[in-house]
Structure formats: structure tokens, C-alpha cells
């Protein structure tokens, strides 16, 4: 299912944190949303998920997402939050079952379908030996897999990840993103993710949208978006950008010193 944003803008009080922007993500495509802290990445993703009110239109396939109830929206868009609340004493299987909330019947019973979906997701993410464990007993990487499992249990065609790997070491970051990449291929998921690590964003996303001060300032393939000048100007950092000649991956490497574009920092 494709996702189309038209003139989507977010305001907190009088402050506009996302200026009107247009974005399109095709079915099965992965769009990485990058930008410095406070650029409006999380606000944009929250607007898509209906968690903050916004102007403009967010259309998935031919469904107006902003007009849907939370229940119907959760069947179309699943979210992996930036800092999920993970109750320590909840068991893994109960947590994954939360992903079936939108499908709960009138009497709140767990249906046979709910149990089948949860079992399937648990097997798919290799969580079988954890199901009876409490979330407080899991490592950071295991927890991240469990949060992803909850999102997959929603059976939504669109997956939104808000900085999914920010709390993980490099190994677990790669494992989590490889998992998303695999699931995207298997389930033809449309993926939208906010990411801090530009190299990882360029490696895994098909296209990137670069936000600065609430506006989309660049949009395209990683090679098009991640230039040393643009990254330096937007993030106020010295970087060199290399493209791996073998696989075309874009590698962004920070360099010492302040960017020449900002004289006040260079003089400090």
C-alpha cells in the first residue's frame, strides 16, 4: 500500500514544527527521514500515525488516514516508537498480543486468529524461547525485537519506525535493520523510518527525505541527498562522504573541526 502526504503541516501552539510538505512512498518502498535534532522528524511521523493533529492530507492507498478511528488506523499503520514504554513485569507474549488490540471483539476475548498471528510473529522473529519471560529480563536488542513483533502483530501494510535503533549498539542496530529489510521484502511492507545514523539510513532506505527546521530540504536517493556540503550545512558538521564502489553504499564519516559554513563556530 502506498502512502501519500500532501501539504502536511504540524503546529504546537503557535510554533510550526513541520512546514507544509509533500512526500510519496510507494508500496514496498523504504523512505528514511533524516535531519538534525528538532528538525521535525518525530512530529512528521506522529502526524502520519494520527498522534498529533496536523493540516493537509495523509492518504494510504485510497484511505484518508486522518479520517479513521484509532482502531481502523492501527490496521493500516503500525508504529515502533522512539522510546517505547515497556512494562517490566509484562510477559513477552502479552506484549506482542497488544498488537492485536485493533482486532479485539466486543467481549475483549483473544480470538483464535489473534493467537495464530502472535505465534506466527513470535516464530518469525525467533522469540519462541522468550515468550514466557518478563520484558524486564530482556536485553536492549531483545526488547527491540519484541517491540517490532508487536507492530507486526498489527498486520498493517505500513510500518513507521521512529529512530528504531537509537538505543542499540552497532551489532544490534544492524540486526534490527536487517530484520526490517527482510520483513519488508517478505510482507511487501511500506516502511517509513526516522534515523539518526546517516550511513545506516543510506544503506537501508531506498530514498531519503532530509528535514531541516521543519521543511523538507532534499529528497531523493541516498547518493543524491547525502552530499558532504548538504550534510555539513544542515547538521553543522564537518563530514566526508564516500560511495562504496562495490555496492554503491553511501558512507558518511565525521571529521574533526567545525564546518567552514558557520564562521561563528569556526572561530570559537
Amino acid at each position: 500500500m502506498n502512502l501519500r502526504l500532501e501539504q502536511v503541516a504540524v503546529r504546537y501552539g503557535r510554533r510550526e514544527v513541520v512546514s507544509p510538505c509533500d512526500l510519496m512512498v510507494d508500496e514496498g518502498e523504504w523512505l528514511g527521514v533524516i535531519g538534525p535534532n528538532g528538525a521535525g522528524k518525530s512530529s512528521l511521523l506522529k502526524a502520519i500515525c494520527g498522534l498529533v493533529s496536523c493540516r493537509g492530507s495523509v492518504v494510504a492507498g485510497d484511505i484518508d488516514l486522518l479520517a479513521l478511528s484509532p482502531r481502523d488506523r492501527a490496521k493500516v499503520v503500525a508504529v515502533v516508537p522512539q522510546a517505547p514504554i515497556v512494562p517490566d513485569d509484562m510477559t513477552v507474549v502479552d506484549y506482542v498480543l497488544l498488537g492485536r488490540t485493533a482486532y479485539a471483539g466486543r467481549f475483549g476475548l483473544t480470538s483464535r486468529r489473534d493467537r495464530a498471528v502472535v505465534s506466527g510473529v513470535v516464530d518469525e522473529l525467533d522469540l519462541g524461547r522468550f515468550t514466557g519471560r518478563r520484558l524486564g529480563e530482556l536485553s536492549g536488542g531483545e526488547r527491540q525485537r519484541v517491540v517490532l513483533a508487536r507492530a507486526l502483530a498489527q498486520e498493517a501494510p505500513i510500518l513507521v519506525l521512529d529512530e528504531p535503533t537509537s538505543a542499540l549498539d552497532i551489532g544490534h542496530q544492524q540486526q534490527a535493520l536487517e530484520l526490517v529489510a527482510r520483513l519488508r521484502g517478505e510482507r511487501r511492507l511500506t516502511v517509513l523510518s526516522a534515523m539518526h545514523d546517516l550511513t545506516l539510513a543510506g544503506t537501508y532506505a531506498d530514498r531519503l527525505a532530509l528535514l531541516d527546521d521543519g521543511a523538507v530540504v532534499a529528497h531523493g536517493t541516498p547518493v543524491e541527498v547525502l552530499t558532504a556540503e548538504r550534510v555539513g550545512a544542515v547538521f553543522r558538521v564537518c563530514v566526508s562522504v564516500d560511495v562504496d564502489p562495490d555496492d554503491g553504499a553511501v558512507i558518511v564519516v565525521p571529521r574533526r573541526g567545525f564546518p567552514a559554513t558557520d564562521p561563528s563556530l569556526a572561530e570559537a
Partner: protein, 350 residues
């Protein structure tokens, strides 16, 4: 060891079965003992004899049966309704506000009931015979529901949304105001202070089947709604924003749960007075024993709360008979040490 969703269901059934056995055993004990009446062991026989298709030789006289059926049973059933309702409402409140220190009196159900009852007593409405319904519980009930409604309206209008923290703060303000108004009324009518305190400390003595008929429908509605919402209470555990993204209409479901829990709480406290401790500690005890899943916690709180209050009422009427110890005092005397021991043992095994 792997655990599938179906093994969890089996675990739920075992716990619910254990809770039901505890509740039934407590009711049988409550009905069987008392300062007057038949031998204790005859009571289960005579109760069974009154069930359809069962005939037993119980040797209980009609007079003794009247003591069991007209004096003890209404008290036991009222105790079960009050204890079950308070514990279940406490669990529900703790769930929607994601706060383990919350009890069913948080938003003003008790303070409102206290004010309503005090107003009725000071106005001299104490003579039930002159009214179509007993005015003290009626005004306690109305004031209780009114106070929680006021909290909800204020919390919503100040907070923009009816978010947990704004509601709780509005509750603090409204409770303080209602308590101050009650204190003012008591201070102006010192002659009825004893009667007001008797009501506040809680009572199950003198319960009649009429009391149960009066509150039964409200308790039944509340219990059914909360049981149906138990799965949603688990979703509240991940916070409002995540709950909404998982498909929960947070504001609407919170209102439904608070309304149901308040209606039941207001109904029971209007008849029993303010019995503390049950609504806070029974949910925690159940949580320590059976786990934190509300799917299990809500029905278990109902059963364990019911059994607990019925059992707590037994020493209250046996030890100091004929003068009664207020039930609120007994619940704290019995429950607090038990809870501390449980807390300690769990900490040591954790």
C-alpha cells in the same frame, strides 16, 4: 521453556478457579459463624437443602434458618459485593491512570459520598421510614457520582484532554473541597458527629436484602463493563500515545472505565460507608500472586476482594460481640501485616 498464548489461557483459568474457590469458601465461612444461630457445620447443609433438586437432613429449626438467611446472609452478600466492587474498581483505576498508588476513591467517590451522607444526617434525614428510599445512602450516592463528574469536567477543561495527570490533580482539589465542606458541616452540627463517624468508618452490620436490591443493579452494570474492558486496561500500560497507535480510543475508553468503576464504588460506599484499604491492597496482593496482566487481575480482584471482606467481617463480629469493631479497622488490622509479609517474601524470592 516456551509459553504460547494458549498456555496463558490455561494459567488464567487456574487462577480464576482458585479465586472462585476462595470466594465461595469465604462466603460459606461467613454464613456459618456468628454469636447466635445453628451449629456452624449445619449451615452448608441447610443452604444446600434450599438449592433446587437437593434435599438434605440438616436439623436446623426455622428460627435458626431465619438467623442465617435474614441476618447473616445479607451481611455476607453485602460484604462480598462491597469488597469485590472496591477491589475491582481499584484495579481499574490503577490501570487507566497507570499509577499503582491509586484507589477507587481517587476522583472523589468517597469524599462526595461522605459529604452527601453528612449533609443528610445533619439535615435530620436519618429516619428512613419517612422516605420512599433511605435518604442517607441515596444522598451519598448522588453526591459521590456528582463529585466524580465535577472532577472529570474540571480535569478535562483544564488539561485540554482528559489525560491522567490533570484528572488526578483535579481530583485532589475536588476531594479537598468536599472534605472541607464535610468538616464544616460536622463542626456546625456537633450533636450528630458520632452518627457521621459511624457511617464514615464503614459498616456491614444491619445489612438487609433491601440494601442488596438497592445497589445490586449498579454493581452488576459496573462489573460487566469492567470485565469487558479488561483487555483494554492492559493496553493502557504502554501509555496513552502508544495505546492510541495500537487502536485504542484512549479518551473514550478511559471515560467508560472511570464511569463504570465510579458508579459501582458510589453504590457500595453509599450503603457500607468508607471502607478503606480493600481497593488499594487487594489489587496489589493479586498482582504479586498472579501477575500484572489486567485480563487476569480484574476478575481475580473481584473474587479475592469479595472473599477478603467477607472474611474480615468475621472476627469483627465474633471477637468483640455484641459491640462491633468497624469493618474498616479490621480490614487494615488483618490486611496490612499480610500484605507486608507478602511483599517481603516476594522481594526475597525476586
Amino acid at each position: 521453556m516456551t509459553t504460547s498464548p494458549s498456555t496463558h489461557r490455561t494459567g488464567d483459568a487456574v487462577w480464576l478457579g482458585a479465586g472462585a474457590v476462595f470466594c465461595l469458601a469465604a462466603i460459606l465461612i461467613g454464613a456459618s459463624v456468628g454469636p447466635a444461630g445453628p451449629d456452624w457445620w449445619r449451615v452448608p447443609l441447610v443452604l444446600a437443602d434450599h438449592l433446587p433438586l437437593i434435599a438434605l437432613d440438616h436439623g436446623v429449626t426455622d428460627q435458626e434458618w431465619n438467623i442465617v438467611w435474614k441476618i447473616r446472609m445479607p451481611r455476607v452478600v453485602l460484604g462480598a459485593l462491597v469488597g469485590g466492587m472496591l477491589a475491582m474498581a481499584g484495579s481499574a483505576y490503577q490501570g487507566v491512570f497507570r499509577n499503582p498508588l491509586v484507589d477507587p476513591y481517587l476522583l472523589g467517590a468517597a469524599a462526595g459520598a461522605g459529604l452527601g451522607a453528612t449533609a443528610a444526617i445533619t439535615l435530620g434525614w436519618g429516619d428512613a421510614a419517612a422516605w420512599p428510599v433511605n435518604p442517607i445512602p441515596a444522598s451519598a450516592f448522588i453526591a459521590s457520582v456528582g463529585t466524580v463528574s465535577l472532577t472529570y469536567v474540571l480535569g478535562g477543561s483544564f488539561g485540554g484532554s482528559r489525560a491522567g495527570i490533570t484528572l488526578v490533580l483535579a481530583g485532589v482539589a475536588v476531594v479537598s473541597f468536599a472534605t472541607a465542606a464535610q468538616t464544616f458541616l460536622m463542626q456546625r452540627h456537633l450533636d450528630v458527629i458520632r452518627e457521621v463517624f459511624q457511617w464514615i468508618l464503614g459498616r456491614l452490620a444491619g445489612a438487609t436484602w433491601d440494601d442488596i436490591r438497592l445497589i445490586g443493579p449498579y454493581v452488576a452494570c459496573s462489573v460487566v463493563v469492567l470485565l469487558l474492558q479488561r483487555r483494554h486496561l492492559d493496553v493502557f500500560r504502554v501509555g496513552d500515545a502508544e495505546a492510541e497507535s495500537l487502536g485504542l480510543s484512549v479518551t473514550r475508553i478511559r471515560l467508560v472505565i472511570v464511569l463504570a468503576a465510579t458508579l459501582g464504588t458510589a453504590a457500595v460506599v453509599s450503603v457500607s460507608g468508607l471502607i478503606g484499604f480493600v481497593g488499594l491492597v487487594v489489587p496489589h496482593t493479586v498482582r504479586l500472586l498472579a501477575g500484572a496482566a489486567y485480563r487476569r487481575l480484574i476478575p481475580l480482584s473481584l473474587l479475592v476482594g469479595a472473599g477478603f471482606l467477607v472474611l474480615a467481617d468475621v472476627p469483627g463480629r465474633m471477637l468483640t460481640s455484641p459491640a462491633e469493631t468497624p469493618i474498616g479497622v479490621v480490614t487494615a488490622f488483618l490486611g496490612a501485616p499480610f500484605f507486608l509479609v507478602l511483599l517481603r517474601s516476594r522481594k526475597m524470592t525476586a
